[in-house]
């Protein structure tokens, strides 16, 4: 079971080579195939996630949640997806057409590109990049631009305000996010995600870097624009922030990308702090799915438990609390590494 997918990949490659394809083309085809499969799985998974989120919010608010279509309302999101697909695609006449139209597409493209480096099991990353973690962070920083494009292109004051807020928030929280990951990188001595997983053979990094995990978790919530940090959407004051003017499939793309990002960030947390695919009995790819889902459940729990935070509190929390704490964490980690090295460990 452990090597199920890697074996399938190997068999496919050798089959293509035996057909007379040069090995480089076989690798390329396999790469595209893996990529497509991941994108399809991640996208279909969003249907489950939306249903889960509505059920959990219902549970926390003592409601039933969706309960009409299918067992426990399980088909509700499928019906919603059908509705969104068939809705009219409205482009406001005063909108900046091209920017308005490309923003959601770029957003989802960046979201699925994050999966290229995530090890979804032992030896199961699409690209084994040497600087994988850094790739994740820098690609993630590009998604701010998409929100900005959406807010600007809509030519609507709520959209622009929402975009401004989200950009201010995401830029501020990118810094503690990157800093909190530095502690892990220092311990593992590598930016390669599969090497970081191997470095956790003895201890999971959550035990050695609890502060880093907390800062990562908080900063990631803000990066995802999820509650209690969902200021950019803030329905009561900004209608829907940057998404106000979007309808039908374009709006659904934003929604899809947000959940795709949620899965990616949770999978990264599982990889960096919870030993990735390591675990007893079950194969590694199953372990990472379980861990990712557990972390996502905590994200949802947080969202529906805490009230939204005021914008200025949010910003000062990042600059005055999270950044100093994550800097201190780097210092202490460095001192600790030198100390234990001096002790001869």
């Amino acid at each position: 079971m452990e090597h199920l997918f890697t074996n399938i990949a190997q068999i496919l490659t050798s089959w293509m080579v035996s057909l007379g394809l040069p090995p480089i083309w076989a690798d390329l085809i396999l790469l595209i195939g893996q990529w497509t499969i991941i994108v399809v799985i991640v996208t279909l998974n969003v249907i489950v996630l939306v249903w889960l989120e509505r059920k959990i919010s219902g549970f926390i608010q003592e409601r039933l949640g969706p309960n009409r279509l299918g067992p426990f309302g399980a088909f509700q999101t499928i019906a919603d997806a059908m509705k969104l697909l068939t809705k009219e695609d409205i482009i406001p006449s005063q909108a900046d057409r091209w920017i308005f139209m490309t923003a959601p597409m770029l957003f989802i493209v960046i979201a699925v590109m994050l999966y290229a480096v995530l090890p979804l099991g032992q030896g199961m990353e699409v690209v084994d990049l040497n600087v994988g973690l850094f790739y994740f962070i820098s690609l993630g920083s590009l998604s701010t631009i998409c929100l900005l494009m959406a807010g600007w292109g809509s030519n609507n004051k709520w959209s622009l305000l929402g975009a401004m807020r989200s950009v201010a928030q995401m830029i501020s929280y990118e810094i503690p996010l990157a800093f909190s990951l530095l502690g892990v990188v220092m311990l593992a001595g590598s930016l390669n995600l599969s090497e970081i997983v191997t470095a956790q053979n003895r201890y999971w990094f959550i035990l050695l870097q609890p502060v880093a995990f907390l800062t990562y978790f908080i900063a990631a919530t803000a990066e995802l624009n999820r509650g209690p940090f969902d200021m950019p959407e803030a329905e009561q004051e900004l209608t829907a922030g940057a998404y106000t003017e979007y309808t039908g499939m374009r709006w659904a793309l934003f929604f899809l990308a947000e959940y795709t990002n949620l899965v990616a960030v949770s999978a990264l947390a599982a990889t960096l702090f919870f030993g990735g695919g390591q675990g007893p009995w079950l194969p590694s790819w199953l372990w990472i799915i379980i861990k990712t889902y557990l972390i996502m459940l905590v994200f949802m729990w947080m969202k529906w438990t805490f009230p939204r935070i005021r914008m200025d509190h949010l910003m000062s929390f990042s600059w005055k609390v999270l950044i100093p704490v994550s800097l201190a964490n780097i210092l202490i980690t460095g001192l600790g590494i030198e100390f234990f090295r001096g002790m001869g460990w």
Binding site: D96, I99, L142, E174
Partner: protein, 172 residues
């Protein structure tokens, strides 16, 4: 088709996208469109770094320039903008500014070409750097630490200056 030809084709593709978006930045009448074209140029330069095997530098280019600096540029543009967007990046009609602009551009181009032409660039064909991040860190925090710290202080000064400009100095 050999690997070299594919590599060359990829280079030509990336380079043309980069150049076209740079042209788009200069020629667009809408300053927000210019800023977005600038981001595309930055990403194109990052892709060139990737093509040369310098993944780390490419990612720094994306994180710092495309992800942070250009967002700040757009932010500043949106905050100070008034009037209609498609008239924000107009061309200056006077001949004098054209001449000055052309002169400065020519001097910069000649300077750059001369700098590249006359400096000895060691050839590293076929050699891949395994631990590029570690080597870079060693250089930045070892040999060139003073320059590195000086740049950091300079940036700090810029931040303080920006805060003073934005909030004004309180009269005693």
């Amino acid at each position: 088709m050999s690997l070299m030809i594919i590599n060359d084709l990829v280079f030509v593709l990336i380079a043309s996208i980069t150049l076209l978006s740079a042209l788009g930045m200069v020629l667009s009448r809408n300053i927000v469109h210019s800023a977005l074209a600038l981001i595309l140029t930055f990403i194109g330069v990052a892709a060139l770094f990737f093509n040369l095997g310098a993944a780390f530098l490419g990612l720094v280019q994306i994180l710092v320039y495309a992800g942070a600096i250009s967002v700040l540029i757009i932010f500043a543009i949106m905050l100070v903008m008034h009037g209609e967007a498609h008239k924000t990046n107009r061309f200056n009609p006077s001949l004098g500014t054209h001449l000055w602009g052309g002169y400065i551009a020519a001097v910069m181009t000649i300077g750059l070409v001369a700098a590249i032409w006359f400096s000895e660039l060691p050839e590293v064909k076929g050699r891949t750097v395994e631990d590029a991040v570690g080597l870079l860190a060693g250089l930045l925090l070892g040999n060139y630490v003073i320059a590195f710290e000086a740049a950091a202080v300079l940036l700090l000064l810029a931040v303080v200056g920006a805060i003073i400009l934005a909030r004004g100095v309180e009269e005693q």
